[in-house]
Amino acid sequence: MNDPKTPDDLRADLAALKKVSDRDLPDLKQVIHDISRRQPERVTPIMGWRRRIMAAVQTMKARPALAALAAAVILIAIGMVVPVSYDRVTGHDVSISLAGAAFTPDQIAPTAKEMKTRLGAEGVQVEASEDNGAARFVFHTTLPERSRAEAARKAGAFVRELAQKGIAASLTVAPHKEHVTSPAVAYAWNQIIQISVDGKSASALESEIKQRLAESGVPDAQVSVKDSPAGGREISVNVQRQNFGGAPAGEQPAPELVLTKNGAPITGGSTVKIKKMKDQTGATSLVVETSDHGKTATATVPNSDKMSDAELQNALTTQFRQAGLNVQVEVVGGQIRVRPIE
């Protein structure tokens, strides 16, 4: 036939197939006549939908990749339409309480003005009350910082200045939340930071991760990106968070960092999340969540503050081994480091 590479036997067989199958071909007029005699099929709307669904199912079976893509598109479409309600931290409420004989009512206006300037607040509200015959003034403002640490640092500096003037002040910082109703996709998008590693040096990647985390309300992340001599790259992101007054964990923005290479998320790395929790009795418990090559294990160590580094290291190693995770745990001066064993 056409292709000289086609073997002779096959070529001869295909020619025979053409010859045999061309024998007694139906006449075109006969074909038309047969078609015209066919009873037109009455298709009800239900039958029509059933056929369409069956055709779609067949297509999906034949093309699994297309099925996965279609499912993703449907989920995104649902996510774009179906709204979800959630609380979003938009800043922090700062309250500074002033009491005592050193603070007089004529100092209210200049103090509020100075607080506004020093904290960069839009406005300051003053609440006056009497506590056992003594006047008590609380200055309230809301700062736009999504990081509690940043808001506390600014307000703390102002409180220390007041203390230097002999004015005793106490400070509270609480997240300022807004209840938002928006499409699920927008919610998910707000929580995911996607960074491409393509063609970026370790230092360029490090500064980009820092910048993007800061933009997402995590300005105090300690980021380290190092090229490993054995190949690959070690990326460490350390974020410290403290929750006060028994507030539930997770009220701080907790964006998820997704690194991509050639447009696809990088998988197979290791991540470690460490949480220290102190209860009302002052006892500290430690929760370490580690994932390595898709496998995740959580180790919980109660009363960790009363343990030596070696004891803590041993407790974590034992729990991870029991969970089937082959990792090396190092605890030095209370700092925990978890590495996969290659």
């Binding site: 056409n2 590479k5 002779d8 045999v20 139906p26 078609i35």
Partner: protein, 193 residues
């Protein structure tokens, strides 16, 4: 049924009728199945004739319709015996002097070999190798790129070669009936000489 539309279809289909009807059979496992495929393709063409803007592209358009129906039928088709696949009659000899029985045996073997291919590979092989369409024409009919057709042809030919290697190997085993003329030596790369 609309007479004008039928007349237009007859006018367009006339010059390609034999090739299209033959192709429908060669894409199928039997003459009856091929005729049914062709009939359904003509009906579909009649129903969608208003979509055809450029009549010079009718051949490509009709073959694309034929291939589309072929694929959907292949997905839901049950196995058909090849025993009665082609018209069998007492034909003493072909025009070239060969025996009709031998042609039937060869056609059956080619049909079995083609049956091992994926529908899209079978289409590419039949249209290019038997019908003589160019790769570009096959690409237009299959609605894919030229490189995709080339890839389908390469894979299809590989599978056909493997089928023929198996057939020749089994023909060398004593006691088994040789299906065709004496087995030939395989050239490097699996090509049969």
């Amino acid at each position: 049924m609309n007479e004008d539309r039928w007349e237009r279809l007859l006018r367009l289909l006339g010059p390609i009728h034999e090739q299209a009807a033959g192709t429908a059979r060669r894409l199928s496992r039997s003459a009856d199945e091929g005729d049914d495929l062709y009939q359904e393709s003509v009906l579909r063409a009649y129903e969608r004739l208003h979509d055809l803007r450029d009549e010079s592209k009718f051949r490509s358009w009709f073959f694309a319709t034929l291939l589309s129906i072929h694929r959907s039928r292949r997905r839901r088709r049950a196995t058909v015996s090849l025993e009665e696949a082609w018209p069998r009659g007492g034909e003493p000899a072909g025009e070239d002097g060969s025996k009709w029985a031998e042609a039937l045996e060869r056609a059956d073997r080619a049909a079995r070999a083609l049956d091992g291919l994926a529908p899209v590979q079978r289409e590419a092989v039949v249209l290019h190798e038997i019908e003589g369409f160019s790769v570009e024409e096959v690409a237009a009919m299959q609605g894919v790129t030229i490189s995709a057709v080339k890839s389908r042809l390469v894979r299809g030919r590989d599978k056909l070669r493997q089928f023929y290697e198996r057939v020749l190997k089994s023909a060398r085993i004593p006691g088994l009936r040789r299906e065709t003329e004496p087995a030939r030596e395989l050239a490097p790369g699996g090509e049969i000489r």
